[in-house]
């Protein structure tokens, strides 16, 4: 009653504000760094900052909208897996998170075999017989669990689950502090906000960054596959079909994980047909001969002879892809695929990391690896800023992060985009060119090494 009357008074506006403030029991806390989004990238960033000795006295808060999913050591493999390149794997080793993954499960890939459905051209990276590993296939959930486990050892990092941010108040020209509001009304402030909140990043939106994006009009169909024959499963297979690439990533000697990019209509159909029909369609996609132009066939075979004469053709024997027996029940799902790149990775008091800053086609398995590259670079940059006596949000250091990462990411993304466009057609001249390109790549060892080193 008293409150009601007060509200009618002249000062009602002021009182309303104070009233709301107290009624929600607002708590305000300050951190040096707040990380928004605890996906694979955000959690690895929390861990990396937490373990950086130069940042040991900085307080870090990680906010994740979802509840914490503990790793229950399930027997079934998850249909969401990523291919981790050697640099990312090193990051996990350095963090101490790799031993958790090793203790559970992962699949080393020793060779990557890429081939074109419209010609016989193929290229292999790495060597199945060697000891060298080109990438590691790990389930998203396991990777996240390993990082979550490790972040517990960082005394200066706090993690909040079920903490969905509803509002970011970035500093204006005069201010230096970032305000963060959660959906339960709690408020936090920080000197530096790191946006790891994925493709639809609200941090990026509040930065009003220029974001270049388009949809591929493709879906990525995933599933866990059971293979016909038990074999040494150490090769990742990718075949470019007219509708998009299909990739089989090894999990165990009997299981592989599927990422099949295709048109939305086809994806919908693939999800609705019976599991037997799905397997049949998939085997056809992997094995069937697509009608390719006679010109392409002849040209590639002549070019192959030519390379052989020059004595620089492949020495590795051509392996054959596995045949799929069945799929893990209910393991099918589909995700929209798109391209996106933010022209700005940084702003006053803020930086973007991972998918919040860039999104690529999964055809090269680079998405989260670019994010882990960002993580390593950002941690170094912030450590350097602090060790040089600067503030942690010093723009000139953040600008170094932006410059270094854009230099790397844009080149990689342009390469992936180029591959996507090259293979997303069945025009004879282009099929011819790309087939000859694949053959030449296959034959030229230095070129292959250059490609692999950019990808890792």
């Amino acid at each position: 009653m008293l409150i009601k009357n007060l509200f009618k008074s002249k000062n009602s506006k002021l009182l309303q504000v104070t009233f709301r403030f107290y009624s929600k029991g607002t708590v305000s806390k300050h951190y040096d760094v707040v990380i928004a989004g605890g996906g694979m990238v955000g959690t690895s960033l929390a861990c990396t900052l937490g373990k950086n000795t130069k940042l040991r006295e900085k307080r870090v808060l990680l906010l994740e909208a979802c509840p914490n999913k503990a790793w229950g050591n399930p027997e079934k493999y998850s249909n969401r897996v990523v291919s981790i390149n050697p640099s990312s794997q090193k990051l996990f080793s350095d963090l101490g998170a790799w031993k958790f993954i090793e203790k559970h499960r992962f699949a080393p890939v020793k060779q990557l075999q890429v081939w074109d459905a419209l010609s016989d051209a193929s290229v292999t990276f790495g060597n199945a017989e060697s000891q060298e590993i080109v990438s590691y296939i790990v389930e998203n959930d396991l990777l996240l669990a390993a990082l979550t486990e490790e972040v517990k050892n960082c005394d200066n990092v706090n993690v909040l689950y079920n903490a969905k941010v509803t509002k970011y108040g970035l500093p204006d020209y005069e201010g230096n502090i970032v305000n963060i509001t959660l959906d339960n009304g709690d408020e936090y402030t920080c000197d530096l906000l790191l946006g790891c909140d994925g493709v639809n990043s609200s941090v990026r939106k509040s930065m009003q960054a220029d974001y270049v994006s388009w949809s591929y009009n493709q879906m990525g169909v995933v599933a866990t596959l059971k293979l016909k024959e038990c074999m040494k499963n150490e090769i990742a297979w990718q075949r470019f079909l007219p509708n998009g690439p299909v990739a089989l990533l090894p999990l165990t000697d009997e299981l592989s994980s599927l990422v099949w990019s295709t048109s939305p209509e086809e994806a919908r159909r693939l999800l609705s047909v019976t599991e037997e029909e799905f397997v049949e369609a998939l085997n056809k996609a992997i094995w069937s001969k697509y009608s390719s132009s006679i010109i392409v066939q002849q040209a590639t075979s002549i070019f192959d002879t030519f390379l052989r004469v020059l004595n620089c053709s492949k020495s590795e024997k051509n392996n054959v892809p596995p045949t799929v027996k069945s799929i893990e029940p209910n393991s099918r799902a589909a995700f929209p695929l798109g391209f996106g790149h933010s022209s700005q990775y940084i702003g006053k008091g803020v930086a973007l990391v991972g998918d919040a800053a860039h999104r690529v086609h999964p055809l090269a398995g680079q998405g989260v690896n670019l994010g882990f590259g960002d993580v390593a670079c950002l941690s170094n940059t912030l450590g350097e800023a602090v060790y040089d006596g600067s503030t942690i949000n010093d723009l000139s250091y953040l600008r170094n992060y932006e410059k270094d990462r854009q230099r790397h990411n844009i080149v990689t993304m342009a390469g992936i985009e180029g591959l996507h466009r090259l293979y997303n057609t069945d025009l004879t001249p282009i099929v011819l060119l790309r087939s000859l390109g694949l053959q030449a790549t296959q034959a030229l060892e230095p070129l292959k090494r250059a490609i692999v080193s950019q990808a890792s």
């Binding site: 000795t53 130069k54 940042l55 040991r56 006295e57 900085k58 602090v386 060790y387 040089d388 006596g389 600067s390 503030t391 723009l395 000139s396």
Partner: protein
Amino acid sequence: MHFGIAFDMSIVLRRTPLWSCLHKSLSSIGATVDKQEIENFEKITDEWWSQFGPTKGLHSLNKLRVPFVRDGLVNEGVVSKEYLNTSAPLKGLSILDVGCGGGILSESLSRLGANVTGIDANSRIIDVAKKHAEKNCLQINYCSTAIEDHSQQYNGCYDAVVASEIVEHVTEKDKFVEACARCLKPCGSIFITTINKTFWANLLAVYVTENILEVVPRGTHQVEKFIAPHKLQRLLEDNNIRAKLIHGMVYNIVTNRWSWCSNISINYALHGVKLK
């Protein structure tokens, strides 16, 4: 390619209210401060601390001179191992920043854990420095005094003395260096950054900036106050300080970045150590 110019703070400051305020108060120490200047105070604080304002060259110089001081002290073995590669490598060390101005360097050294004393003859700018440090919760001991007076009281008190972009404004350099040296503990380090007295420094700092770029009025510079490294070295030696390191520095006016170079003919940095 670098478009380097000899960098002298007075060049960029001279046309701003900041400079005119400093200049006035310098020439009228003790005189009553006029009202207009107090109103200007907020603006001056902002200007001094804006990374894009007239002091931007000093802000960006931090990227060079802070590591120079930090690594110099690390190399002298005065930084304890447990603090290496932490956020406070200079923990426990006492540092005197001579001619600290608004505290751009003092604050960085303070964040690295050092106990910093910043002195400046200009009391107005010391107020700016105090206010800014307070706002940023930094414990820095600022004092408006001359080094000669300070050194009487704080004889042999500091692990390091830093005189950055100040020597080129000092007339009696022998007294200045002597006072700095007096403040040092035995084996203490002195860090100096300044402008060389060469044809090139003269050409770039005076001729180009005054007559071609016209960023400063003609006749502003007193080239005779610049000092050559060997002269500075001699002055230090007279005070029992041995120069350990001299680096050239180059400023890129377009990108506002400093970098090290082997050429010391324009700007240079010197690290000297007081003998026992």
